[in-house]
Symmetry: C2
Subunit: 336 residues, 2 copies
C-alpha cells in the first residue's frame, strides 16, 4: 500500500509510492519516475480501448451501450497508478522521529471525451456541462466517505502542466487529511469572522484593475498575489463553501464562461500548458467549512518551479497581475 | 521597485516584478514571462562578454587582468532581472485586505566557469573549491546587512530544473523575511530542544537503508520523506547552523564528495535536470538559528510540479527513497 510520510522540515505530507516496482527500470514507471504509458503511442483513454483501464466508476453513456465498452460521453475510472487506496482506517505510525500513515484515499480520472484530440476549448457546451456535472457527482460521492477529509479536483494540460497523457482528462483525489497549503483561509476567518474570498470579491470589484470578466454568477480576476503569470481565478459570487453544492444554473453559466476564458487565454498566450484546480472546503471535518468559498484557479505554466520556489516557497511572477488582467480582458472581448 | 505581495490563501509571499515591461511582449521578458536572453544564441556569461552583464561584485581573477574583462575564474554579478533591491528599509503596506512590502533584498549570480560547456561534474577540484568559497563569501557578505533575514543559495540545471541560461551558474538570494517553508525545523526544536537534522543523522545511521554515502565529514541520504525521486541530502555531520561557517577542510571534503555524487547521479539517471539548494539558518534574527543545521538538497527533476503539488502541497514521489538509495549507492561505488 502507498504511504504518506511526514516531511518534518516542511511539516507537510509526501506521498511515497512504496508498492511500486522494486527496480526503477521496471514497469509501470521508468527510472525517472515517469509512467511508461506516457511515452508509447497507445492511448488507454480512447474509445475502444476501455479494456486497458480499470472498470468505470461512473459514466455517461449513449442508450443501449454496455459498461466498459464504447458508446460513452464522459467516463470516470480509478487512476491506474493511484497513490491512494480506500481500505481500512487511517493508521498513523511512528519509527523514531519518522511519522507515516497509510495512503488512505481515492484517486480517480475523469476522461472528458472519447475523442483523442478534443480539448476543453473544442467541446460543445453540452459536453462541458456533462464534465462539470460529473465532477460535482464525484465530489459528492467521495464526500460521503467519512475517512476523506479533502477533495482536490485538477487538470494538467501540456508538458509544463505535468500532463502524463495527452487525452483530455481531469483528476479527483480524496485525501485523508486537509492540506496545510490553504491555512490562510482559516486564519483569516478566525481573525475576522469573514470569508476571505467574499472580502476579496468586494475589494476587487471596487479596485477594478485585476478584473478579467464579470458575469451574473462569476467573477474572473488575476489575483493580487498571483504565483503564476496570467493566473486567473473563476470565483462564484455567491458564498458557497463546497464545489459539490454547485447548482445546475451555475454549471450552465460556468461552462459558458470557462469555454470563453480558456479559448481567450490559449489565444493570448500562444497555447500554453496550464493547470486548472478547484479549491474548495474540507469535508467531514466539523466546523471546518465556515471560512471556505470554492473557486477555480487556472495557472498557465511557462516556466517550471525552480530552486527558489521549491526551496523557499516564494514564487517569482514576472508579469504583474494588473498587466495580465489587461491582456486577458482584451482577448476575452475578442472571443465573446 | 519590485514588490512582495502576501498570498492570503497560502500565507506566503509572492515576488511580483511590477517594474518590468508594461506590455508582455516587451523586452526583457516575452509574454510567457521567459527572459528573452534565454532564447537567442548569445551567452552573457561567457568570457569576453562581460560588458553584457552588470559590473562584478566579487571575482577570482588571474593576476594582471582588469575588472569586468576576461581572465576570471569565478565571477559574481547582480542578477540582471533581479526581483530584489537593497535600498532603504523594509516598508509594509496595506490596501484593504492586501498586504505588500518592497522587494528589499539581493539577487546575485555566481558564474562558475568562463567556459560555456563545462559543468560541475567536469570541473577540477580546484574550481569546485573556488565556487564553494565564493558562495561562502557571498553568504557572509550578505549576512552582514541586517535587513537581510534569510540567504538562499541554489542552482537550476536543465529544462525541468528551470534553468534560463545553460552556462553553469549558481544564484544567491538575500530575502527580507524568513520563508515559512522550513518552519518544521523550528517547531521540532521548540518541542524537543533538539536539532532535527542531528536527530535525523542519528536515526539514518542506525537504520542504514537510506544512506547513499558516508565520509568523515558528510552523510549523504535519500531523506525519509523525499519530495522528488532520487532526492539526496548532503549533510555535514558536525552541527553547524550557517553555511557561512563552513571551514576550508570541509570545503575540500565537500568538493570531493559533491563531484563524485553529481557524476554518479547524472550517470544513474541518464543526465537529468536538477536543482541544488543549500538550506541554512536565518540570519539577523535573534535566537532563530538554534535549531538549524545547514545541508545541501539535490533534487533531480523529471516531472514538473503539477495540479496536485501546486494545489495541495502534497508531492507524489513514485520511487521510494530506500530504492533511490540502493541505485545511487551502486553508481557512486562505480565512480569512486
Amino acid at each position: 500500500m502507498p504511504e504518506l510520510r511526514k516531511d518534518l522540515v516542511r511539516n507537510e505530507w509526501v506521498v511515497i509510492a512504496t508498492d511500486r516496482a522494486l527496480r526503477p527500470n521496471d514497469f509501470p514507471i521508468n527510472k525517472q519516475g515517469v509512467h511508461n504509458l506516457a511515452i508509447n503511442g497507445f492511448c488507454p483513454f480512447c474509445e475502444g480501448n476501455e479494456a486497458n483501464t480499470p472498470p468505470e466508476i461512473a459514466v455517461v453513456r449513449k442508450p443501449d451501450t454496455a459498461p466498459n465498452g464504447p458508446g460513452w460521453m464522459v467516463r470516470t475510472i480509478p487512476n491506474k497508478f493511484s497513490a491512494f487506496e480506500l481500505e481500512g482506517e487511517l493508521q498513523q505510525n511512528r519509527t523514531g522521529i519518522n511519522e507515516s500513515c497509510n495512503g488512505l484515499g481515492r484517486h480517480e480520472v475523469v476522461v472528458e471525451t472519447p475523442e483523442h484530440h478534443l480539448e476543453l476549448q473544442d467541446y460543445t457546451m453540452e459536453r462541458i456541462e456533462l464534465v462539470l456535472s460529473t465532477l460535482k457527482g464525484r465530489y459528492n460521492d467521495l464526500a460521503r466517505d467519512e475517512r476523506i477529509k479533502y477533495i482536490h479536483i485538477y487538470k494538467n494540460r501540456g508538458l509544463f502542466g505535468g500532463a502524463s497523457l495527452a487525452h483530455s482528462h481531469s483528476q479527483v483525489v480524496g485525501l485523508p487529511m486537509v492540506p496545510e497549503t490553504r491555512h490562510g483561509i482559516e486564519d483569516y476567518y478566525h481573525k475576522t469572522g469573514h470569508c476571505l474570498i467574499c472580502d476579496m470579491i468586494k475589494q476587487e470589484l471596487e479596485d477594478g484593475s485585476r478584473i478579467v470578466a464579470e458575469t451574473e454568477d462569476f467573477l474572473l480576476i488575476c489575483p493580487y498575489a498571483s504565483r503564476f503569470s496570467y493566473e486567473t481565478w473563476i470565483i462564484p459570487r455567491h458564498h458557497t463553501p463546497h464545489f459539490g453544492a454547485i447548482t445546475s444554473d451555475q454549471i450552465t453559466a460556468l461552462a459558458s464562461i470557462s469555454k470563453q476564458f480558456i479559448t481567450a487565454m490559449l489565444d493570448c498566450l500562444d497555447n500554453p500548458s496550464y493547470n486548472l484546480m478547484i479549491n474548495t472546503a474540507p469535508v467531514n471535518v466539523q466546523f471546518a467549512s465556515a471560512g471556505y468559498h470554492w473557486y477555480i484557479e487556472v495557472a498557465p505554466r511557462f516556466i517550471v518551479t525552480a530552486g527558489l520556489e521549491i526551496g523557499t516557497g516564494y514564487y517569482v511572477n514576472p508579469v504583474a497581475p494588473e498587466i495580465s488582467a489587461v491582456m486577458l480582458r482584451e482577448y476575452l472581448q475578442q472571443h465573446e
